[in-house]
């Protein structure tokens, strides 16, 4: 077969349904990336408009452009939008989705349909959140939504319910997206791309995704607690019933600080992509930078309480978190000097993308230096909750996170569209945004030091703040003009830009080895990799051409892409990826509808739509690639289950942690008037459930070896026991909830929530088991085997969790 024919064949294989409908059912990571991009741009415009309205209100003292209520909604939605509906989906969703597979030489993400689901859920949650404006009840207690202000007593509308449900909902999308990126990076790297040859951009995305997996459960649990308290009268946050208002803050910031690194890490990744290309040399101190990126994510989990230095924590706590917060500086300084040294050792070409990275370095250093000041506890206690903090985190979130994004948009524009942007306009847009950012945010340091507190809808004349505020507002509009110029440049260049060719900048990573825009199948041949900058390795590229000519590793037997071993990236198997599917968008639709019914307290209707979601999942998995069973261990499905279990375990860890935290605050735990939970029945039931791990193990193993009948018998046995357990436990649960009465005490609230969460996980497991009882009764396919192995892993985890829940239950007898 000639090369042309091979390529034509790939083209046919990977082509998706044409037209608008094709975008709704697409599973192509590049199209999903583009959907993410434009959707987040719309949210960015909304968040920016909110910011400009606030700046207009604050341009002068005592203005009445907007009412206090409107201002509070604008301020809250600005934060929520920029963080949850712009930066996270833009970095992990748009950039990560589009670029990671291209940089590691894969033809798609590890789970293409899950990828589509992430997008549609994200869109649904965004629409859900923004529909709050239609009823005039947008979230209004600030993006960190402190209780008691956010409790029903002080905020009786739907505002906070939109917030909490919307964030739980968008958290599902972010978790699924992060899981997908992790498994893609673990399993789908091209043969030869061992860890030391992986681009730093992918390290950054990996670090951000791992952070998301472990950070988001805290936010989810926090929001679930909040909704249970608001809607059903549970008690987690009120002192009168044994709760604690600071519990909200701890959980929020356990999520919220890693979140800061989730936001900036992809930006670091973009910087470490752009700098080597334009400096025309590899990164200085490559391994140090890779380690620094992972280290930032790790230390980021140990610093949350520095957001709470003014709450009256004990001195020991203050000192511990101050020290941890200082440690996080070092990985950042390593990266800054590595970037600067790369620029100095190279022969940098200061085109627009690199100019944005220059701006990024300046702003990141400014925001970093003021950040260090906050690790000095007394200074933090003076300036926290003032405009000094607002200045600091906008230099980080806008200067350090968004500037690389803007540079990255220019940098990859030719790759994504096949056309060049207008360089002259791009440079103008850099200077406008640079000046705008400086004018908007720098004076905020000064007004903060002059005593201006944040989140005020107005301020008095005579405090020395007027001139600075006016400058900030003017800066805001200059910044907006710069951003509009970028948008103009993009839209115009889409139509009339010069053809870009494969590699206009001579970039080092794999995406520059393929045509622009990339074909549906990405790589005509699976690329050879022997360094982190494969596009600069001429012999390897010649090897690719040879392979293509000879038909080696072209993989045109279906939607094929190679899976490799995790560490050394040796070829492990050839995967057959699923084609386009309508189920992700259907699933997202029913879940979005369910969210609206939850909001309006129609719980039965919501449950109905959620059960439709279960049916949609069944439809999803009924269509499967028809591949023969092969012996697989640690497939991408297994890794997917591992990451999923990790995030679920964190969720339970958070609830159990809450139980312990509140126990330490309460003299009576459980309260004296509540009957103690029983011992015997739960212990026996749990023992029975835990024992089902044995048949689950047998089923998983037998399926892997192709012994269908054994696998089927084992899983059937397990299923029967699991179902019996579930029925018994749910029956008990329904009859004892009133006895414990979560509306009476924090103890019962946490306890019932813990039990309920466990039962829900058992329910999900029972559904999985039932599915495989039905599916492997007649036939084993590779898809079913991997699914069964994942389910077995899930059950082992649920059994451990159930045992832990039993320990918590027994501890009430101590």
């Amino acid at each position: 077969m000639a090369v042309v024919d091979r390529i034509e064949h790939l083209e046919e294989l990977w082509l998706e349904r044409p037209g608008g409908l094709g975008w709704l059912t697409t599973v192509d990571h590049k199209r999903i990336g583009i959907l993410y991009f434009w959707t987040t741009i719309v949210f960015f415009a909304a968040g920016g408009t909110e910011a400009l309205l606030m700046r207009t209100q604050l341009a002068q003292p005592d203005q009445t452009v907007v009412s206090p209520e409107t201002y509070d909604q604008l301020m809250t939605m600005h934060g929520v939008t920029m963080i949850f509906f712009f930066i996270i989906p833009m970095t992990t969703g748009a950039f990560g989705n589009y670029l990671v597979p291209l940089m590691i030489g894969a033809r798609d993400m590890a789970f293409p349909r899950l990828n589509a689901l992430s997008y549609w859920i994200f869109l649904g949650s965004g629409i859900f959140m923004y529909s709050s404006f239609l009823v005039g009840q947008a979230p209004n207690a600030g993006w960190f939504d402190y209780v008691p202000l956010a409790l029903r007593q002080y905020d009786g509308g739907l505002n906070i319910d939109f917030y909490a449900l919307g964030l739980i909902f968008s958290g599902v999308a972010s978790t699924a997206g992060a899981l997908n990126l992790i498994v893609t990076i673990f399993k789908l790297r091209a043969p030869g791309m061992s860890w030391n040859r992986m681009p730093l951009f992918c390290f950054a995305l990996l670090a951000a995704s791992l952070s998301l997996i472990f950070a988001l459960p805290a936010l989810t649990v926090d929001c679930v607690f909040l909704e249970l308290q608001r809607k059903l009268g549970f008690h987690f946050f009120d002192v009168a019933h044994g709760g604690d208002p600071l519990l909200w803050q701890h959980l929020f910031w356990i999520f919220g600080h890693p979140e800061v690194y989730i936001i900036v890490l992809p930006a670091f990744g973009i910087a470490t992509s752009i700098i080597p290309t334009f400096a025309r040399r590899r990164m200085v101190a490559f391994p140090l930078v890779a380690m620094a990126e992972l280290l930032v994510a790790f230390i980021g989990f140990g610093v949350w309480a520095h957001h709470m230095f003014a709450t009256g924590l004990t001195t020991t706590t203050l000192v511990f978190f101050a020290a941890a917060s200082m440690m996080v500086v070092v990985p950042s300084t390593i990266q800054i000097y590595a970037w600067l040294m790369t620029v100095n050792l190279g022969t940098p070409d200061f085109r627009a993308p690199l100019m944005f990275i220059g701006g990024f370095i300046i702003f990141f250093v400014l925001g970093g230096l003021s950040g260090i000041m906050f690790a000095a506890v007394p200074f933090d206690q003076a300036t926290t909750d003032t405009y000094f903090v607002v200045a600091h985190f906008h230099f980080i979130i806008f200067g350090a996170a968004v500037f690389p994004l803007l540079g990255g948009i220019y940098y990859w524009f030719p790759k994504v569209t096949g056309r060049m942007y207008d360089e002259q306009l791009a440079r103008w847009s850099f200077w406008l945004t640079f000046v705008g950012t400086s004018l908007t945010f720098f004076p905020m340091h000064i007004v903060g030091l002059l005593g201006m507190t944040r989140r005020v809808y107005t301020y008095r004349h005579g405090l020395g703040w007027d001139a600075y505020n006016l400058v900030e507002t003017i800066g805001g509009f200059i910044l907006a003009a710069g951003l509009l110029l970028i948008a103009f440049n993009i839209v115009r260049s889409l139509r009339s830009g010069e053809p870009a060719g494969r590699d206009p900048f001579y970039g080092g990573t794999l995406e520059w080895t393929i045509p622009s825009p990339p074909p549906h199948y990405n790589f005509a041949v699976i690329p050879t990799v022997s360094s982190p900058y494969p596009n600069w390795d001429e012999p390897d590229r010649e090897e690719d051409l040879r392979r293509l000519a000879q038909g080696e590793l072209v993989l045109d037997g279906g939607h094929e892409t190679p899976a490799t071993t995790v560490n050394d990236a040796e070829l492990a198997e050839i995967l057959d990826m699923p084609p386009e599917s309508p189920w992700p968008i259907v699933l997202s639709l029913v879940v979005t509808i369910a969210a609206f019914f939850l909001l309006t307290e129609h719980y039965v209707t919501a449950a109905f739509f959620l059960s439709l979601a279960v049916l949609a999942l069944a439809g999803w998995h009924a269509a499967e690639p028809d591949t023969l069973p092969v012996r697989t261990a640690r497939s991408k499905g297994w890794w997917g289950a591992v990451v999923f279990v990790a995030t679920e375990a964190t969720l339970f860890g958070t609830i159990v942690g809450t139980y312990i935290y509140l126990r330490l605050q309460n003299a009576h735990w459980p309260p004296p008037n509540v009957p103690k939970p029983p011992v015997l029945t739960p212990t026996l039931l749990t023992a029975a459930l835990v024992l089902t791990s044995i048949p689950m193990y047998i089923a998983s193993r037998a399926a892997g070896e192709g012994r269908r009948a054994t696998a089927w018998r084992a899983i059937t046995v397990a299923f029967v026991v699991q179902l019996a357990y579930l029925i018994w436990q749910v029956h008990d649960f329904v009859h004892t909830v009133h006895v414990y009465d979560p509306q009476q005490s924090a103890w019962a609230s946490v306890f019932v929530t813990l039990l309920g969460a466990d039962h829900l996980h058992v329910l999900a497991g029972v559904l999985f088991s039932a599915w495989f009882v039905l599916r492997i009764r007649s036939r084993l396919t590779r898809y079913r085997i991997v699914g069964l192995q994942g389910t077995a892993f899930y059950w082992h985890a649920v059994n451990v969790i159930t045992a832990v829940v039993l320990v918590v239950q027994l501890s009430t007898r101590l």
């Binding site: 206090p68 200085v284 709450t311 300084t333 050792l345 940098p348 260090i372």
Partner: protein, 321 residues
């Protein structure tokens, strides 16, 4: 002038002088002075650090045609710079900052131990005003804290509703008011004056208009003020009893509610509605007749009264000296 402030460029020094009386750079007591000093030193070091990085960025631009560092140095030196400036130097500086700020400065801004101050004041956060009670005295006031000059004053902070944060920038750091918790703070003013403060934790609609003034005055004046404020009001008023006593207290009269501020000596206060307006007859008139316009969303309802009643009610309130 301390050594630390000498480091600072004159342009920035000018900041300390400008602004109102809510300026962290214009400390009026030793706790805030130690914080301000800490800031100026951190600021000085930050400028040097920022300058160093800008120099390297500038160097990269100037020498963009040369694929090496000055003196022809290459990757080896570059990695040494990464390790030296990116690892070693920050570690040394951070340890120094940690010890100085989190042990020494923290000690001087620390909360006073129970019973270690001659005067203890209870400050209670409300949406959106501050209740102020004096230990060992019946004096109760709102949004106006009188303290004797040069005296360590302990403040005990609580809240009746949501979280607020008490902050008087020229005197000390801030502390949140957390439901179910008593937080403590030290106030000390070196010289007489009015120090403005403001709620720093977002607390709802009128968070922006929840200010407080600390008035430091010589001891004799303070004692006189305290004695005066401990006294009940001279007389009650029927209109007030009918319309206002559901929320306000005027000690010595039947009005005894505690939803809004105690108004026993209202007329002697400097401001109205948590430092929203100066306490002038014109402002008082505006506030009484249309509080929802002055401070939208606040808990004081607009009342329907006849013109004559308004005048009489205002005259009574103005008599509460």
């Amino acid at each position: 002038m301390t050594r630390a402030t000498l480091l600072v460029p004159p342009l920035v020094l000018a900041l300390a002088g400008c602004g109102g009386n809510q300026n962290t750079l214009n400390p009026a007591g030793h706790p805030e002075r130690s914080i301000t000093q800490l800031f100026w030193v951190m600021f000085g070091v930050a400028i040097v650090g920022f300058g160093l990085i800008m120099f390297l960025l500038f160097l990269g631009w100037v020498r963009r045609e040369q694929p090496n560092l000055p003196g022809g140095r290459g990757e080896r030196t570059a990695v040494q710079i990464v390790l030296g400036f990116g690892v070693a130097l920050p570690i040394v500086l951070l340890i120094a900052l940690f010890i100085w700020s989190d042990f020494f400065v923290m000690r001087s801004t620390a909360a006073p131990a129970k019973g270690s101050t001659a005067l203890t004041i209870k400050v209670i956060g409300h949406q959106w005003w501050w209740e102020v009670r004096y230990g060992n005295s019946t004096a109760v006031t709102a949004n106006e804290i009188h303290i004797p000059v040069g005296t360590r004053v302990g403040v005990v902070l609580t809240t009746v509703d949501v979280i607020h944060s008490f902050w008087v920038p020229e005197l000390n750091r801030k502390v949140d008011t957390i439901p179910g918790t008593e937080n403590r703070l030290l106030l000390i003013a070196d010289h007489p004056g009015v120090y403005r403060g403001q709620c720093a934790e977002f607390c709802g609609l009128q968070h922006a208009n929840m200010a407080v003034e600390v008035i430091a005055e010589p001891k004799p004046q303070f004692d006189a003020w305290l004695a005066h404020n401990a006294r009940p009001a001279a007389r009650g008023n029927t209109l007030f009893a009918q319309n206002c006593s559901g929320c306000h207290e005027i000690r010595g009269t039947p009005a005894r509610a505690d939803v809004g501020p105690d108004l026993t000596h209202f007329a002697s206060r400097r401001t109205i509605a948590a430092v929203t307006l100066p306490n002038t007859p014109q402002n008082l008139r505006e506030w009484l007749r249309d509080p929802q316009h002055v401070k939208p969303g606040n808990r004081m309802p607009n009342l329907e009264l006849g013109n004559a009643d308004w005048t009489a009610l205002q005259r009574y309130v103005e008599s509460l000296r």
